[in-house]
Amino acid sequence: MSDKVSCTHCHLEFNQDVMIVDGEHYFCCKGCQGVYHLLKDQGLGNFYEKVGNTALTPPTQQYEDSANFNSPAFYDKFVSVNKDGFSEVSLIIEGIHCAACVWLNEKALHKMEGVISADINYTNNKAKIVWVDDVLKLSSIIDMIRAIGYNAFPYDASLQELRANKERKDYYLRMAVAIFSTMNVMWIAVAQYAGYFTGITQDIKTILNIAEGVLATPVLFYSGWIFFRGAYFSVKTKAVNMDILVATGASLTYIYSIYITLFERGEAYFDSVTMIITFVLIGKFLEILSKKSVADTLDIMSNHIPSSIKVIEDGKIVSKNINDVKVSDIIAVGSGERVALDGEVVSGEGNFDESNLTGESEPIYKQNGDKIISGTISIDADIKYRATKDFAHSTLSNLVSLLEGAMSNKPRIQQLANTLSEYFSAIILVFAFITFVVWWMWPHSFETSFMVGISVIVIACPCALALATPVATLVGLGIASKRGILFKQAAQLETMAKATTLVLDKTGTITQGKPKVVKEHIYDEFDTSLLYSLVQNSKHPIAKGIAEFIYEENLHNLELEAVKQLPALGISATCNDKKLLGGNVKLMQTEGLCQDTTLHVDASGGEHSEFYFAYDGKIVAKYELFDTPKEDAAESIKAIKSQGIEVIMLTGDHKKSALKIAEQVGIDRVEAELTPDGKSSYVNELHKSGKVVVMAGDGVNDILALATADIGIAMGSGSDIAIDVSDVVLLNNSLKSLNDAFKISRKTYYLIKQNLAISLLYNAITIPLAMAGYIIPLIAAISMSFSSLLVVGNSMRIRLGFKDK
């Protein structure tokens, strides 16, 4: 055994003898070596000082040809021209591990002729690049990023994400002003109220009033603009909301305070104005902070759609827009290009990468007459195919529109606080008006009655109500994320707390997704090395399970020839002119090896997955594999059931193995042999019967169901698309955290209800007092902060009971 050394570029450690030696440096692959020399040549070698010992991803071979990025259709979609006449594109850069990576990318791009600015966001790996299109093309930029060991693909930034960021920034600005003013108004108010109790001359009072007024004005008109806007819309749609209450309360108090200041009638109440707006604004901001943008999800899907197609017309290649291609057009696809439409190969042959649609990571060989699916990438194939469907009916476009549909049709459960505040606001406004009228009729001065009316609005002003939900959900989200549960949106905590049904996918969710050999049948002697070498060629979980089972020290890899992956069947190869076959029953049947009845070949499928190995035309061994459930599965499912949630298992597998797993983990309802569509329509049926459904899954075949369910939960190890589509991600893949997710959301929901009860109770006590005229705005302001603190403090109680970890 030789020593381990780390690669000079990526810092991953390998045995010395497998490394490429280059002077005093070691490299794990040609890619790393290439990047290292490129950086040295470009004078960017000090990248390695900056990066320290962080391990990087070794550069990978990119299948997609960068020349595609230069097509006019692509430019139309992603590249915009800014006001200086420069081109702009937004990219997502893959492979960024540390701040030094950001530094390197920016530096390398800056060194290019024609690049004006490259700004990369370290947090979300998104980059904005501005360049002069006359000097260099987008493809050169992408090539540069790939050359230094990263990968980039464009996304359409004009969508929701940009809007969401803008909104967030807008709130920052408004909050900065509000908080600054409130804090300053408060210390002036301290002087004011100290004077109120100890004696103060009217001219000093007026000076303090003016100072407060100066500070309160930007808060009301700049920070409070959001509430005026909200109030306007709510009047327009004739639905009373909290914004009306805040807007009327704050502006009436403001007007009244100006009147006091001008006519020197004592203390103004500008402090109440700023405080109401600041508190409610913070509540609103917390809500915004935890909203996810659906745009992000669809970015990745639509990135899979090529924008222009090479169609062959009269022997010439014509570039066409994807929507203009008709059925039975002949389309050319070169190596590294993406297939846009479903079709049938008419000439040429080669391998295709179907991983982003099927999850199958092995390249699939296609030749004349084979069907090809849209969304897949040609790895080395240079083929022509006949379109059998137009774009709108192709698999890829179908999938995108199904997803879009599922996401927009998701049932939205209205949040408790929103429903409540509608009624609440209307009632308070009516109360305030009645109070004012009654006081005025009961002979009082206009001034006094107006003051009492305002105090009703100010005291009822829903600071606590506005903070009740966001603070509790934020605490809940914090606890959840510490346990590896990521909620993408705060409102989902509430939806999840109301869930009645949990739907689980079998493979990878309940089970480990790694089948293990449970039974071995040897029919004839054979060299285990043969089988070992054969299964080494496949990445299929079953092949991996076999390799793990038969692994011994003295096995060696044999030279195999003509290795072929047979999708959904197995693998074949030859060794010394003897044919090797490994795969399922179907493969054995198609090869005509199943006549021998003594082997008990059972085509109907048993509890276990079966793997046959045939050598030289004879079946020599059979292995039975079983995907065992995760260790904590049974326990966690029991715990979830005890919370009163119905648990259902859905799977695409055959019934027998599904039932066996279900029995082991204690699930009574099982639906087996479902297609991805079937899963999602099953979830829909549950919806129809009034259930609130949580779906947990990990594979590409679950994405439709995940998008359809009220809450889609993806395993962190699942496919990227599944994670994108889902609302919650379980980072540690365990069912225990699924149980935790239920517990945390229920606890949070319980505390939200309690918070709302506290703020309503507080109002029930103070509003009658205010109507009777016992409360001056000073006390209103103090009690307002008190009730807010109470709600915030109460929210912290979610932590109790989750302290053990």
Binding site: A100, W103, K107, Y172, N184, T201, L208, V214
Partner: protein, 72 residues
């Protein structure tokens, strides 16, 4: 007299505070706080070289801008 002292002090401190506030608002608007990680790491990658880089970048930009607007 007393009241004028108070008025002045209030005026001056609010004025100074608002300068700080405006600087902060400018910082938010121009995107200096957009990427908290980069913001915190910036100090590690600061130096003469970075300054030079920024200047060359600015020069390149101005030159290219001039080129684009040359009369045709």
């Amino acid at each position: 007299m007393d009241s004028w002292v108070i008025a002045m002090m209030l005026g001056v401190s609010i004025f100074l505070g608002s300068i700080a506030l405006i600087a902060f608002l400018w910082g938010i608007k121009s995107g200096q706080f957009d990427d908290e990680e980069k913001f915190l790491n910036a100090v590690k990658f600061d130096g003469q070289e970075e300054l030079n880089d920024a200047v060359t970048q600015q020069k390149k930009r101005d030159e290219l801008k001039k080129k684009q607007y040359k009369p045709e």
